[in-house]
Symmetry: D2
Subunit: 315 residues, 4 copies
């Protein structure tokens, strides 16, 4: 990630601010505020603003449950209780805003989470930066044989190089032709004074999906956790997980108690179906169980055995 001089100055100016406020503040999060945390080869995650902290969740829960919450003596106890029983609305009382730079094909996956506010850089108005994502060699995975949406082994030797060459050349060529069609270079200079440029809203269609875009993305803590649960998960595509991991870390700085509860009950937890529960009950009682009688699919069976460390039962 290379920021322009202008961007670096902007960040420095923002970080120099020192305002007084009666609002709650989170020093640990303030310490990384506005910082461009690198993601992939040219992307970044920046925390731009936030509202509330762990005590804000507790405060609104106490408004809801009134004197009913007096029994839960500590903030930690209350937050764990809320997380465990899916009491979602108190977590909506915290809000965070990020500035993200990311490849378009990841932006398309990301935007499917609808419960957020977004302002994306518009290629109808302006020229996109000349930056595209190229995976490192260890991330050039082959298509998985077993999982339709997964990755298998890493591509070897020559093939990896070939792929990288193709990606790089195609991105550069299409970007150059984008400039040619616009009759304008990414730095704003005109190419040929005697020519018109194609409308930006049209020229952009020539770019490849690994071109970087950027946006402001604002959401509440509940929806952020829903996003992270799916996107910081091992089944998520690596390229979005990189962003999710950085954001997960910002959650840890921002609301450390909620973060712990989230890791315990959501990220590290498991769901067991009604049928799966019966099987585990039998295993615990020392009774025989077999995949055939379980009414589970093979994959479902294996996931259950793996979750409870029953390696000898994996098919």
């Amino acid at each position: 990630m290379k920021l322009t001089k202008e961007q670096l100055e902007d960040i420095r100016d923002q970080q120099k601010q020192n305002n007084q406020t009666k609002r709650v503040t989170v020093p640990a999060l303030e310490s990384i505020l506005y910082e461009a945390l690198p993601a992939l080869d040219h992307g970044f995650v920046r925390v731009i603003d936030y509202m509330g902290d762990d005590t804000s969740i507790v405060q609104s829960a106490r408004v809801s449950y009134g004197k009913g919450t007096k029994k839960v003596s500590t903030d930690e106890g209350l937050i764990k209780y809320l997380m465990r029983h899916w009491h979602s609305t108190p977590f909506e009382m915290c809000e965070i805003k990020y500035h993200i730079k990311l490849p378009i094909f990841i932006a398309r996956q990301w935007i499917r989470h609808r419960t957020a506010n977004v302002n994306e850089y518009s290629a109808r108005y302006s020229i996109l930066d000349k930056e595209f994502y190229l995976p490192t060699e260890e991330n050039l995975a082959a298509q998985s044989k077993s999982n339709r949406q997964g990755r298998g082994d890493v591509l070897e030797g020559n093939q990896a190089k070939e792929v990288l060459e193709l990606l790089k050349n195609d991105a550069e060529r299409t970007y150059n032709n984008y400039e040619t069609m616009l009759n304008e270079r990414f730095d704003g200079s005109t190419i040929n004074e005697n020519k018109k440029g194609l409308a930006r809203e049209l020229a952009r269609m020539n770019l490849t999906l690994n071109t970087y875009t950027q946006w402001y993305w604002k959401t509440d803590l509940l929806n952020l956790m829903n996003f992270l649960r799916l996107r910081a998960d091992s089944h998520a595509q690596y390229e979005i997980r990189v962003y999710a991991d950085i954001m997960l870390d910002s959650v840890k700085k921002w609301v450390p108690i909620t973060y712990d509860a989230f890791m315990d009950y959501r990220v590290g937890g498991t769901e067991v179906s009604a049928k799966g529960k019966l099987i585990l009950q039998k295993i615990i009682k020392g009774q025989d169980v077999s995949p055939e009688d379980s009414d589970l699919s093979k994959r479902e069976w294996n996931e259950l055995m793996e979750a409870f460390d029953l390696k000898d039962k994996i098919l």
Copy 2:
């Protein structure tokens, strides 16, 4: 509005906070932060937290439109442009959180605005305060004859007194019986040691709809303006307008440039239908127009004439 000693202390404690932050702050809004601004006879509006200011809207718009916004030189010009062309997403980048105390029948109207985060005091968990809304005499209006959902003249003399008596007595009686059923008084003391109390989630059904409830209500600026446009309007029910007017004032303190644009383009503006436009065009050209040829209903015709100060044409 009378706050308990405990509440007053809480507010004082919150207002005493003096934290350092790198986030943008709005001193005018900070000056009323946490304050209980009175609404109706026992209600209040409190601004609890906020995120962003006018510059945050500008900042995210400039991310969207990139170099494309350079032409609009001032923040004010850009905000007016956004408001006029219904560019909604930059206004979603600001967030505000209120603590509101309000009668239940107003809460029911309010909650129909779905795009907000809410934590309401739960009468399943806790006992509701012994407070109910009683209108002042000048707000005791008769049913309008012309408008199915509106108010007409104020009730006169004795009838106003009668109505107030009924409202007061019924609210008090049902509240007392609520306590009897709970076997517990609003201050938490038990009534009869030898009796059980009815479950709170059931006993609450005996309360009248003018009983006060309270909630934390958090929303972004765009959705707040949508709410205020409808609820600070002269057609809104008086009791919700009281709250909307207080909130409108907090918007003015918070984002003054956006407030001005909102008042000009939304609140003070008018919509003219395709048919209405043709009629106005004719009037401007000095041509004859008549309600019969207009294809407008009588009410629609009158609203158009009123909006453009054509009093002699009102039917």
Copy 3:
């Protein structure tokens, strides 16, 4: 539940329709279409319209995953897979519309589910029906001692009668005074020709929270399941569970395959936290576990032991 002659005729007329369509239809659901299924003493649930069936879910999933879904050979297999892996969007492709009559205090709980479309009977425009919910004696539960929002034992003998008397008398008195203030009876007749009536939007505040209201409520299948998961649960308030159970039954008629998957993975399933998982793994391996070393609260420990039928370990 007693319907007026007019309502019964409306229902009969709607059910007499026999239209041709190229859309998918569900005969089992058509067989109860428009029917007023009784709920509580005066409420009902009516299925008014629907869109799609189990095959619509499969169809849109196959659009998403393209040739990638060919491996999952059956519709049932695919729906189970989607449910198990929280692939939510295909379930949003089905839509259903209900007409519900319910007490206001339940409507207030219900409306907190924001992802639905609602048209409620407006007491600003019209007079509410003279109907209020009175629990049967076996539902008159005392406040739970252990659970702040739960119910304990049923009230006994005289106290139950007392409570019912209070509820009945207060509802009737406040309704009568509502009519007096309106100067109009629920059948539309005027009480005193020489008096004005109080505006409806004001008079309604005198009604108790067990007064019945009604609404059209439309949602997609995903959000309906989210609603049912919470409201058909044993921890939900009995009065809303009655409605949820009827709606759950309509889901069974409408999308039987999805219903089965929902019951297995969501309703009948359990979530195990990261810490809980470690404990179960130890139990399965025959290792010692104790609540003290578990880092679980007493309540959490007990819920885990109960879920896996480890009764001797419950504290």
Copy 4:
């Protein structure tokens, strides 16, 4: 647009359905159900399912306003009233589902409308079709000089040809290299038996933004009108307007009364700001107005004069 034999058969099978239903049906919409209505060079719009019609809007409005709606005697009168006064919820009671094939850069614009249900073809699972959008010559517009996001004159002669060549060659080359990286052709055949293919979720990043994708898109009538108001507007990008116009036509077939009200009050209507209103009032009264004293920007002034056919006042 060329459909495969398989797709054509699917459509024919769907259209052959002839089911009985008690639900309301709309013969005019049924007549185009499932049909692939062509859009751009390879795209289409298909209406897949719908719920409700004009009477459904009326029906739910009558539930809301109860006896209060009796005064509005006709369905048309009521729908116009609802549209004019922004009573939005009755329009949410109708739902429609489309199957759309569209270029990715248009899909990115479209998805910003968040209040819809979407299932998009996933290039993580499956290989995208070898189809990309190439504008016709009359749509190859130059960048507008006056409007940052608009189009100006059409490119002339050679330059148009050059642009089309670049777009075509780049799309083909990147698609071919996509196949090479996948080691698989779009028809599913393997290229080199001895090689692995790059994971689909990675290879897709090499495609250009004019590649076609497809999705199921389902929304209610209110949100559909919000979408169409923006996207069937003359300021919308031509390529999305093509889709919006087809959908607008399906709305006309589906809910003709609502369509008329929508065209009159929303599409054909105008908003006049508070300041603009004052100016029009003066003009009507024959008083002098000048842009300098108006407090309007030049562009705002011109738009107002144009809307009311005051051509001589345009600057």
